[in-house]
Amino acid sequence: MVTVCPKSSDLTANQRAMEGVRLFFQNQFNAAEALFFTERNRLPAFALGWATVMFLKALITLDAEVCVAVPHCPPVGTS
């Protein structure tokens, strides 16, 4: 469990998070991710941006060609 320790600079946390969003939409993926990485353990907005960036990367890179089908489990109720 990660504890939250508010600081006086929290007043500008939303602005700094919005800066990360701006970087992301300006195609500066790594810069946005690095910005969100800095305070991901303290501020939920940064952790959300950090996770959302990788979520979008996962969706973008999702490719059915990459994965070969593994054999299915037997249907439920059969062994």
Binding site: A51, M54, A58
Partner: protein, 303 residues
């Protein structure tokens, strides 16, 4: 190369193609790891769910949350929704490879679950499709409940929006219009009183901002200036005049309200989550929509 499973060794070629294509699964695993971290962080800000607090909220009827609790609840709901989207996307695209965080297989104990670790990431691959759908369903349900809690704490802003059938896109367009459009030939629906007083109309943002919407449409240049100012205060931009008028005395989210920036961000987050939820519900077949509507989820596509 072999991957260690809970019960046996499985060739890695079954999961990954040979050269440099494991980044797909790595990104998924990393996204799930980060979403789990996000959940843990937001859990520290969630409202306390004790017996006494539950009884107190039942007696007093107060379902208000503090700003921190509201943010934690919203982030938790967001994380759950993203996890569910990730799971459902895998389900639809990969069709066979399923990644789940929770290592519980729903199959009978007599059968042997197949868990496969992906390199060094703490997630596993289950070959059982029931696990994925179960996990995604639980995640979506809990996220929806959290979004409803946030909505209740925000005076049912989303529910009011749905009831009035006012498209949220007009609010977004109104903000863009205030910054860029000269609005010489376009009509801006604005409250009558704010449209009549161009200078300083923005200072009058509040409960009465939406009253009489549509009365200032199609006026001259001076009226356009007033309309734009009142748009910043709470009117909404309507280039083709097809949007319905705001009801009399409306003071909800579309009127600009009396909310702060943080409230605005939270309301936007709730709207995004509920909108995304409805988008993914709309992908489902109609028969599934009927089933989920019986279970308590809205299957209405109008919001």
């Amino acid at each position: 190369m072999l991957c260690r499973t809970a019960h046996r060794w499985v060739p890695a070629e079954v999961l990954l193609t040979p050269v440099g294509t494991s980044t797909c699964l790595q990104a998924i695993a990393e996204a799930q790891r980060r979403l789990k971290h996000l959940r843990n962080l937001a859990a520290t800000q969630m409202p306390k769910q004790g017996v006494w607090s539950s009884l107190a909220s039942m007696v007093t009827g107060a379902d208000k949350m503090s700003d921190a609790e509201l943010e934690g609840t919203l982030v938790t709901a967001e994380a759950g929704l993203l996890e569910a989207i990730l799971l459902l996307s895998e389900e639809s695209v990969m069709a066979f490879v399923k990644v789940v965080n929770q290592q519980v297989c729903l199959r009978p104990p007599s059968t042997t679950p197949e868990w496969i670790s992906i390199q060094s990431y703490p997630v596993s691959v289950c070959a059982c499709g029931v696990c994925v759908l179960h996990q995604a369903g639980l995640s979506i349900r809990s996220s929806w409940k959290l979004y409803e809690q946030c909505d209740a704490s925000l005076n049912n802003a989303v529910a009011a929006l749905k009831a009035e059938r006012v498209p949220f896109v007009h609010q977004v367009a109104a903000r863009k219009a205030t910054a860029s459009l000269p609005a010489k030939s376009e009509s801006v629906r604005a409250p009558a009183e704010t449209g009549a007083t161009p200078a300083g109309a923005g200072a009058g943002a509040g409960a009465g901002a939406g009253a009489g919407a549509g009365a200032g449409a199609g006026a001259g240049a001076g009226a356009d200036t007033g309309a734009l100012a009142s748009t910043a205060a709470g009117g909404y931009y309507d280039p083709d005049g097809s949007a319905p008028a705001l009801p009399e005395g409306y003071s909800g989210i579309l009127s600009g309200g009396a909310s702060s920036d943080q409230d605005d961000a939270v309301v936007s987050g709730v709207l995004f989550g509920m909108g995304g939820f409805n988008v993914y519900l709309s992908i489902l077949p109609p028969i599934v929509l009927k089933i989920v509507s019986v279970l308590g989820f809205p299957s209405d596509r109008l919001v």
